[in-house]
Symmetry: C2
Subunit: 621 residues, 2 copies
């Protein structure tokens, strides 16, 4: 691979052009998350309005995307300035979009400007057409894909669609981008960026084959992954139960966030577990393009109330926490339908669930007279009769529509959990950098405190997944309640490794089974022809992590913190009862900064030079 | 009263001007429905697109509107070309809009053209302001009213708002115009006309007092109504139980449409009755401006699933039929919430309920393999997992949002019940002139067959309410299963009388207790100073009825019919088992035409001359 071909589409002018990314830049950032973030920092002006035409959307493949089946190279990375946090916004999506994008002739798309009228774009073998989206504006993502395929006369197997729903159109800050019915570039509000550009959807199709420079070495790399992963017990667990296999595991160690993070165990966890889903609702498992793990759930339901199309995408573990345990909701059929509708309107299930959890706590407090009277009255007025009571699915269903259309209380909820809590003068929110936390209580898994606090995109479990060593014992088991500086190093290294993984792009689940950078050397070297080493992969990852941090610093980073609920309020239940996340940050954050060569969260001149990032020194000057 | 002052607002130019209606025209058409229809016929061009800028919206008061409290003069009449039927569209709305409109300085509004951007209008003591509706476009009517009052700094008691919800914005053909949380210009899709003009809402306020020419005589007229109505048992029934008092009554005679008009009795009628509502959910009764009947229900609910704000508008009898018995749904709390949400998104509950009933029948047929396979597959695809099963409220809730945003199956449902049934090749619809029938099965109340078939705006119970003599014995009891020409005369006379009532404007419920035109002579003569008689009132009504029919004839009236379900399918149950509505039309329609001096449904030259409508002879030429 000598270069990348990107398609730059300016929606203000309607014009597009091809651009090349040279090999030197690729070797520094690979593709995917790395290249997207690098371009975002270079191209998006400082203090840009995340919902203005000056924001840009980078939709990226990596060098191994779509090259061969049998390993996990189907994912897509999307980058922009985040409307939720005002910092770096980026999200990695499963499915088959990036492979089809490469087949269409492009390794990445840059969407800039803003169309005057709603449009959608088709890219078929490098032929770009901008269509009016008048007939699908306001519609859900499921109907949108149905419409586009009908319009183009293509079957569900030909090409790939990504689309926003009404949430993105209405610039809801928790809006995501949906692909294939339920695969999502879920976090940081990227759907709102598409919406702000009046861009409803993108279809890609083509017959180009991605370049593989050294086929022999590449095949060696693929073979390694196939073999190591193929019969691994983690693969089997993911294949049998999906990510929801974690419900019981995480509940057992008291880290399953419940009732808006006021508890770490949910007495009805079993009812919403991956095992229960497999037993009662699973039709079959399904993977992304070329994937052998197949963690995706295709499910069905039975009740008249909570129908989904047979074989639609089942909820992930994070969703089951967000609209399940965190709302004390144990009706798995309801969760399956709610997840389906959230995918349809295009909203991040994690941020949405957390926002509803905050609302439920506010509602409970208002009922008990614990909110100031004017706030309580406004809350009731905006709820317009809805009763968001713990464990009740119907109000959640209506809230999906209300948030997606910013109606009534939805106007405030559309700003995310943190702003909702602030609006009503309540500290009842679990967040970092303005983004709500996912499904692992950092008071019960101490390294996750550091992972959340230092995640550049805000509270995220996928920038470092400390759960792997703290809970799953990969690569070695640690005590989740212990706090030490060694863990800080592991978090830092995982962050760097994952940044490279997200840039190649390979599925992160691989790293459970092939947890060494060494495992990816042949693969990457084979595709690119580069004489790459494990050390270089880690260094690329570290470079990417620093570029993200530079983006944040330039935009006024609020720093590495966790919100009060996790620092000051003790977990009342389970094995971690009595714990907070305070000690974790106190001990690990200084050590982490030392490993990173950061000063108080800001990259030093030294590390920027080490990573060949001198061009961004102006940011820290 | 010598003249009316109308405000004409052209939304294309943003300009407005005052216009006078002279006394001669007023004496021919009174105001309200009469004047609105007359102006509609004169001003809306033939074959106008009902959703195009050439359609116009006439929002009218009558000469007695807002003159004095203690009788029923608070209603508003709205007229336009109907997006649902393509014929005359008009609807009479309770509440307090028209009184406040008159207080603001205007007896009526004419809205024409189309704004480029969404706007709302405020009219405060003749001062007209056009505001951007950018911040409320997409929002429900409840939030919209809240927003407008906050914006203007006025309390809920100052002035009146009418608004559309997302349904109107999306030009849903069953969209209505909502006022005061739940009062509706409900039928014929008038909300879509507002939406097509990018007009979100109108606020009116002022201190002008309507003119009363002969105060003494007027007070005599008011006193008559007050006294005759004040202690009348019908007033008490309406006050105690609202219109829902009819559920048990109509069910008992086997005329309560159930399961999409396949039955005339609902075994669970008691559970959704006005008595049950009064017993369990009623907070208090509430009337329109100045009203002494107070048939409106302010209700509360208890379940977490189906909350409404305490004291919100409870469902009318028609709504209880449409989303209750006709869907075999007996959960009254669910009906209360669904009604509340329908008011919020701004949709006609009657047309919506009938459309869902058709969908439920289609779904059942598809499940049983009774639909062609391609139709069934498309239906399932568009339902996106929803299971519209008889008696299940959750899918109905989601369908409200889907229809309001035209998502998936909502795209077809948004066209109304008739078009939905046609789209899937099914005759399972109860309609006349393209509008779904309300809550009285004409196979069990034969005169209603004629009333529906000849209602100019399509299947309607309020153009002639034959139920009053067939069931309630007002002014005298008839046998509802008997068919005779005398009934045709009664229907015709009621139509004329009601047209005058809707034009004065007085509430139609008065006519249960003051059923003679004579009862309104002093009232009308007092306000206007005219030497008016009961005969003249009836003649005005007949004139109005003919003008409406002329509008229809000009637009290609499909004629006076009832759909196949009512003509060919026998009622299987209840006192009217074995009956159809065929005999009713066969016997009564020819007689009706004779009374009307119509030829095959078209007004004759003779009647036009009698009614001084020569200016419209060109239509029948």
């Amino acid at each position: 691979m000598t270069e990348f071909t990107l398609l730059r589409i300016n929606l203000s002018s309607g014009k597009s052009k091809d651009e090349k990314v040279d090999e030197k830049t690729l070797r520094k950032f690979l593709g995917g998350r790395g290249l997207g973030t690098y371009l975002a920092l270079k191209e998006i002006p400082r203090n840009a309005d995340a919902l203005g035409p000056e924001n840009k959307l980078f939709i990226m493949s990596g060098p191994v995307t779509g090259t061969a089946e049998g390993f996990e190279a189907g994912r897509t990375h999307v980058v922009a300035k985040s409307p939720l946090t005002g910092l770096i916004g980026e999200s990695n999506m499963g499915g088959r979009f990036a492979p089809w994008m490469r087949f269409s002739g492009y390794d990445g798309l840059i969407i800039e400007g803003k169309s005057e009228e709603p449009v959608w774009i088709s890219i078929v073998n490098s032929e770009i057409t901008i269509h009016s989206a008048k007939d699908i504006w306001g519609r859900g993502t499921h109907y949108t894909e149905h419409y586009i395929r009908k319009k183009l006369g293509v079957t569900p197997k030909e090409g790939a669609v990504l689309a926003i729903g009404p949430a993105g159109e209405n610039k809801v800050r928790l809006a995501n981008i949906i692909h294939a019915g339920g695969r999502a570039a879920g976090r940081t509000g990227l759907g709102a960026v598409m919406g702000s550009k009046n861009l409803k959807a993108i279809y890609v199709y083509g017959e180009r084959k991605p370049e593989i420079v050294d086929k022999e070495r590449f095949e060696k790399g693929v073979k390694l992954l196939k073999e190591k992963i193929g019969n691994h017990p983690v693969r089997k667990a993911l294949n049998n139960y999906g990510t929801a296999v974690l419900v019981n595991i995480i509940n057992e160690i008291g880290a399953l966030p419940t009732k808006n993070w006021t508890k770490g165990t949910f007495e009805k966890a079993e009812e919403i577990s991956g095992e229960k889903m497999a037993e009662k609702y699973l039709v079959k498992s399904r993977g992304c393009w070329g994937c052998q793990i197949e963690c995706g759930r295709l499910v069905k339901t039975y009740s008249p109330e909570w129908g989904v199309p047979e074989g639609s995408k089942g909820p992930e573990y994070e969703t089951i926490f967000a609209i399940g345990s965190n709302l004390e909701l144990s009706n798995l059929e309801a969760i399956i339908r709610l997840n389906h509708v959230l995918n349809d309107v295009g909203m991040d299930t994690i941020e949405f669930g957390n926002t509803v959890a905050v609302l439920m706590e506010l509602y409970e407090r208002a009922q008990k007279g614990e909110l100031p009277q004017d706030k309580a009255e406004e809350l009731f007025k905006l709820l317009d009769g809805l009763r968001p009571i713990w464990g009740t699915p119907n109000p959640v269903l209506e809230l999906i529509y209300k948030v997606a259309t910013r109606d009534g209380i939805g106007e405030y909820m559309a700003e995310g959990a943190k702003r909702l809590a602030e609006r009503f003068g309540c500290n009842c929110v679990a967040e970092a950098r303005g983004m709500s936390l996912p499904a692992y209580d950092p008071r019960a898994i101490k390294s996750m405190a550091l992972a959340y606090a230092t995640a550049n995109r805000g509270g995220c479990h996928l920038r470092a997944y400390a759960v792997s060593f703290e809970v799953l014992g990969i690569p070695k088991k640690t005590d989740p309640l212990e706090v030490n500086v060694e863990k800080a190093k592991m978090v830092k290294e995982q962050q760097d490794f994952f940044a490279a993984i997200d840039s190649m792009i390979v599925c992160k689940f691989n790293t459970f089974m092939t947890p060494s950078p060494e495992d990816y050397v042949d693969l990457l070297a084979g595709v690119t022809g580069w004489d790459v080493t494990a050390e270089e992969i880690m260094k690329i990852g570290e470079r990417i992590y620093n570029v993200e941090r530079l983006f944040n610093v330039r935009e006024g980073d609020p720093g590495d913190y966790l919100s009060r609920r996790l620092i000051e309020e003790k977990l009342p239940d389970g094995p971690a009862a009595g714990h907070t996340a305070k000690d974790a940050l106190e001990v690990m954050l200084p050590a982490y900064y030392e490993y990173r060569k950061w000063e108080n969260g800001i990259p030093s001149k030294e590390i920027l030079r080490e990573l060949d990032l001198q061009e961004f020194e102006y940011i820290i000057a």
